[in-house]
């Protein structure tokens, strides 16, 4: 890996840190990235499926997942994990991601991960070839390509510090606060940075100065490097070694902060947890001296660092090693943005003609388009173009459930309401409101329970036992009068259609084995029309390639019921119009059809 990040790098952001993610997207928009740098967010405790963010003036939705595994599965290309978990969980999150594989780098922001865990985490990452940035860091940036969370600060500061496009300096620091400062110094005194990493303030960090600087040595955009070290540790000596043995050949400017520590023998902790000199060689003064002796450009003090940077840069510019960088085009993030109240992902009426999931109405409406109501449903309900066998199945279902006579509760309600003088829509909704667990709901229930049994490999006997335990009759099984000998022809029709047109019907096959068992007990315990529809819908979605979790979601959200609602509305409207046509009077239920059992209220 010669570059830590490119303009195509995408990340999974662990923790829904909205401000930081918005800063990343503002950066992406400013530098005109093609895709947002955050592909997905892991939010273990959120019930939401996505979070809205601004991308320039518009809004985009970034999907939320409960686990890294789920996010990575859907976004295999996102090979950076931004681990914003707390010090309590950051270790587990990193270890899970390394185990999962597919991440080239993991940034860990938490400060104060137990040292033993940090060592284990860093070691595991190193063995797996994963670059860890942090812990206890604000992150890293590849200007013009990818920026982690808050590094670089506000978008104004980013542009002022020339962090919107690659310069020629490779920058490594421990401190996150001073990283910004150094970026600014380098922008003022040179042409900005090409790649920068704040390695983090904890004693044990994943990638140290040398790891990052050896990578920058290979990065052709980096012409020279700036290292801001700290009192404590011996990491700076590894740079000296690398210069001596030729692994680093680019000019290096360096300074170790914490020269103050020499004035105080004990007790005062200057700077980070990693910053404490245990030996003379670890003092800032000793390191600055050793680095200067090794040919590194070391200023007389931190206050002189800008001048040193300017000198090295100007020399390289004069020698033609560095050339002037043309300023790229930027997009301006609007100052004022308003979040949208509603989201629509199915139809769009903003153009010449309204579209259903991208298809103009005229392209699906008339018979010559070859499209039917099943196609319209597949577009508006599922945002997919279903194949003909599926759209025709949907139409078959709708036609099959359109009506079942005036006596069923929904139709009866609609008729009574119509006779009370109410309008078509009022009468219709009265009928529709009857649809639920007892009326029409068997479609949902059958799909849910049969799928559950099939998913869990329950044999028919075990399934019956399970349902007995649940204390509910099996939805979709049983008919008032129909039986195996006297089959329901609607069911026969649906089954025949499926046999002929469906690629396969695993759930129906299973349901039939259940039916064989139930009918052996009582012959009217057949698979009824509700059950058949629910089960075949699951088979349809499976054949269309939906995942089991997507199908479960359809069931949970009541999609199956929706087919019944659409179909039966046709029948209800028929009954309502029938009543209007017949001008039937107000209905009053005969008193002799009511059992009156009223007792005087007891005094308490």
């Amino acid at each position: 890996m010669e570059k830590l990040y490119t303009k195509d790098t995408q990340a999974i952001f662990w923790n829904n840190n909205k401000t930081a993610i918005q800063r990343m997207l503002d950066y992406d928009y400013t530098i005109q990235r093609k895709t947002p740098s955050v592909a997905a967010i892991v939010a273990p405790t959120s019930g939401n499926k996505f979070e809205k963010f601004f991308y320039g003036p518009d809004e985009v939705m970034i999907p939320l997942y409960k686990t890294t595994t789920a996010a990575k599965k859907e976004h295999a290309n996102a090979e950076v994990l931004l681990n914003f978990a707390s010090f309590r969980t950051a270790y587990d999150v990193t270890m899970e991601a390394i185990e999962l594989g597919g991440f080239s780098s993991i940034m860990v922001t938490a400060e104060g991960i137990p040292e033993r865990l940090a060592r284990k985490m860093n070691n595991t990452a190193r063995n797996a070839g994963v670059t860890v940035i942090g812990p206890a860091t604000v992150g890293a940036i590849a200007p013009g390509a990818f920026k982690i969370a808050n590094i670089g600060g506000t978008i104004e500061n980013i542009v002022n510090s020339k962090l919107h496009r690659a310069g020629s300096c490779g920058l490594v620091t421990r401190s996150g606060g001073l990283f910004n400062e150094l970026s600014n110094i380098i922008a003022i005194n040179a042409d900005g940075i090409a790649e920068g990493v704040a390695i983090g303030g904890d004693r044990f960090v994943g990638s140290v100065f040398i790891d990052n600087m050896l990578r920058m040595e290979k990065n052709p955009e980096v012409k020279y490097m700036v290292l801001l070290g700290e009192v404590g540790g011996t990491e700076e000596y590894k740079i000296i070694e690398a210069i001596k043995d030729g692994r680093i050949t680019k000019p290096v400017i360096a300074w170790c902060i914490g020269t103050i520590a020499k004035h105080f023998s004990t007790g005062v902790q200057f700077g980070h947890a990693g910053a404490s000199a245990n030996a003379d060689a670890e003092t800032a003064a000793a390191k600055n001296k050793a680095m200067a002796e090794a040919g590194i450009y070391v200023p007389a003090s931190f206050n002189d660092l800008p001048a040193t940077i300017n000198k090295v840069y100007s020399d390289m510019l004069a020698k033609g090693i560095i050339s002037e960088i043309p300023e790229p085009k930027m997009s301006l993030v609007p100052k004022v943005r308003r979040s949208k109240q509603f989201i629509c992902t199915i139809s769009d009426d903003r153009g010449e003609e309204c579209t259903y999931a991208g298809f103009p109405i005229s392209s699906v409406a008339t018979p010559d388009t070859g499209k039917g109501i099943g196609d319209v449903i597949s577009l508006l309900w599922f945002k997919k173009q279903y194949p003909q066998w599926a759209t025709e199945f949907i139409e078959t279902v709708i036609k099959t459930v359109a009506d079942h006579g005036p006596a069923v509760s929904g139709a009866h309600n609609a008729k009574v309401t119509a006779r009370a003088g109410k309008s078509v829509v009022e009468s219709l909704v009265t009928g529709l409101l009857t649809i639920g667990p007892r009326f029409g709901g068997a479609i949902d229930g059958a799909a849910k329970y049969f799928k559950y049994a099939d998913d869990n490999d329950l044999d028919p006997k075990a399934f019956l036992k399970y349902m007995k335990g649940e204390g509910v009759p099996i939805p979709g099984i049983g008919h008032r009068i129909k039986s195996l000998k006297n089959p329901d022809l609607r069911v026969t029709g649906l089954m025949n259609y499926a046999a002929e047109h469906f690629p396969s019907t695993p759930l129906l096959d299973y349901a039939k084995s259940v039916e064989a068992l139930t009918t052996s007990k009582k012959e009217n315990l057949i698979l009824n029309v509700d059950g058949t529809i629910g089960i075949l819908m699951v088979d349809m979605w499976r054949a269309l390639g939906y995942s089991e979790s997507e199908i479960n979601e359809f069931i949970e959200s009541g999609t199956l019921n929706a087919f019944f609602i659409v179909g039966r509305s046709i029948g209800f409207i028929g009954h309502v119009l029938d009543e209007k046509r017949l001008a039937m009077p107000m209905y009053r239920h005969p008193m002799d059809d009511i059992l009156y059992d009223v007792q005087e209220a007891e005094k308490l």
Partner: protein, 443 residues
């Protein structure tokens, strides 16, 4: 931060609590008490379970993190001959020690206040061993020697065997490595016993999240009886949330000779512990003339560095630097005000002995996410309350800051200072972060 020293007594308590889990083949009596005075010791001796204080000869020594107590003549183990110290002797000795300041050979001085008292353990030099473990670089290292006591540190290289245990080494390999490196001069009859003790010691060190653990000497008596004569330990306090139940409510004392924290430092530490932001304050010299209020850990270091550099280059000294500290991580307005109040209060307590102006450095790098205007609001509120005091001490304020909303922050603080008649200079990211130090001190 991260590694914190604990008292010998607390270290031994931890050993005793975990003894059966790690050292089940061995026996450890754990007769130790921690007392602050002779009276407390005498009272302790009346408690059930501490009868040994009256029955056995005793050893008493300070338990205040520093080592080399023997060389400092701070171990009471004899009055006339070793092993004749009675309870009354120990109590008397402690009372004498707490009555005056003590200066160690290192020059650290202070008043002794905590003592550990234990039974005197008669043993021979041959029964003393050395064992310790710590983290070096990325690896754990176990040190073992057949010689314990003060002698081990002289001739360390010849006398001590090291076992390096990388973080991912399996227990089988670790045990093998320890067995292969048992010091050759451990007598053959003790070798196996020492091996199993060393392995258990390493696991205890590792599982308890010690950063450093040393027993010198550990005394192997008959019948697998172990006596931990002297113990030094540091814990990795970041593991505190994992170890809460095991460690218990363990104390992290300040190093001997370090002045106890001032009320102001304690108040800031207290505010820090209750906040999501970071507030740190160390008073270096209450009489100093340069007071800093710097945002960010890294920036606070470079400001301190630069103040030291310029003070020395301009006829001053490091003594000019009055405090070290930082505020960061998005403190609230009231937290910032409290921090500023504290600094200004400390700064205006003493007139500069040479009659020089007081300098207040309100510095900081370019913030990543802290709202500069918001934090400055707290500082401005503090100015409003303290302006008269600041003027009395001829306070010159130098401000340098960048980051979210910095233009407003700088403008607000300038306007407020001007309105209050305070002397102020204000700079943004176009000025080098520490250049205000040069401006302040070159004058």
């Amino acid at each position: 931060m991260a590694q914190k020293a604990i008292r010998e007594y607390d270290g031994k308590t931890l050993f005793s609590k975990q003894w059966e889990n790690y050292f089940s083949g061995f026996h450890y009596g754990f007769k130790s008490v921690l007392v602050k005075s002779g009276a407390e010791l005498l009272a302790k001796a009346e408690e059930h379970g501490f009868e040994w204080l009256k029955q056995e000869p005793l050893v008493a020594k300070p338990d205040m993190l520093f080592g080399k107590r023997g060389k400092n003549d701070l171990v009471l183990f004899k009055t006339n001959k070793p092993g004749d110290v009675t309870l009354a002797d120990a109590a008397k000795w402690i009372d004498e020690k707490i009555s005056h300041t003590t200066t160690l050979l290192t020059g650290q001085h202070g008043t002794l206040s905590h003592f550990i008292v234990e039974p005197f353990t008669p043993h021979s030099q041959e029964q003393e061993y050395y064992i310790s473990a710590t983290c070096v670089g990325e690896d754990d290292v176990l040190y073992m020697s057949a010689e314990g006591g003060m002698e081990v540190e002289e001739g360390w290289d010849e006398k001590v065997n090291e076992v390096v245990v990388p973080i991912d080494m399996s227990d089988v390999d670790m045990e093998h490595a320890i067995k292969a490196n048992i010091p050759a001069d451990i007598p053959a009859e003790n070798r196996v016993v020492f091996e199993s003790f060393a392995i258990a010691f390493f696991k205890f060190y590792r599982d308890m999240n010690f950063a450093y653990l040393e027993i010198n000497p550990i005394v192997m008596l008959d019948n697998n009886e172990m006596a931990i004569l002297d113990l030094v330990a540091r814990l990795d306090d970041t593991a505190g949330f994992l170890m809460k139940d095991v460690w218990g409510d363990i104390e992290y004392p300040t190093a001997f000779g370090m002045e106890d924290q001032s009320p102001e430092e304690k108040a800031i530490a207290d505010a820090d512990s209750k906040s999501g932001a970071s507030l740190k304050l160390t008073i270096l010299n209450p009489m100093g003339r340069v007071w800093t209020m710097v945002a960010g850990g890294g920036a606070s270091v470079v400001y301190a560095d630069t103040i030291a550099d310029f003070a020395e280059a301009n006829g001053g000294s490091i003594a000019d630097l009055a405090n070290y500290g930082e505020y960061s991580g998005g403190p609230t307005t009231s937290e910032t005000k409290f921090y500023a109040d504290t600094i200004i209060d400390l700064m205006t307590r003493h007139k500069d002995p040479k009659g020089l102006d007081k300098i207040m450095i309100i510095g900081g790098a370019i913030a990543n996410f802290t709202d500069v205007a918001k934090t400055f609001t707290g500082i401005i509120q503090s100015f409003e309350e303290n302006a008269e005091k600041m003027k009395e001490h001829n306070t010159k304020i130098y401000v340098r800051r960048g980051g979210p909303n910095y233009e407003k922050g700088l403008k607000d603080i300038k306007e407020a200072a001007d309105r209050l008649g305070l002397c102020i200079e204000v700079y943004g990211p176009e000025t080098h972060v520490t250049d205000i130090v040069r401006m302040a001190l070159e004058k």
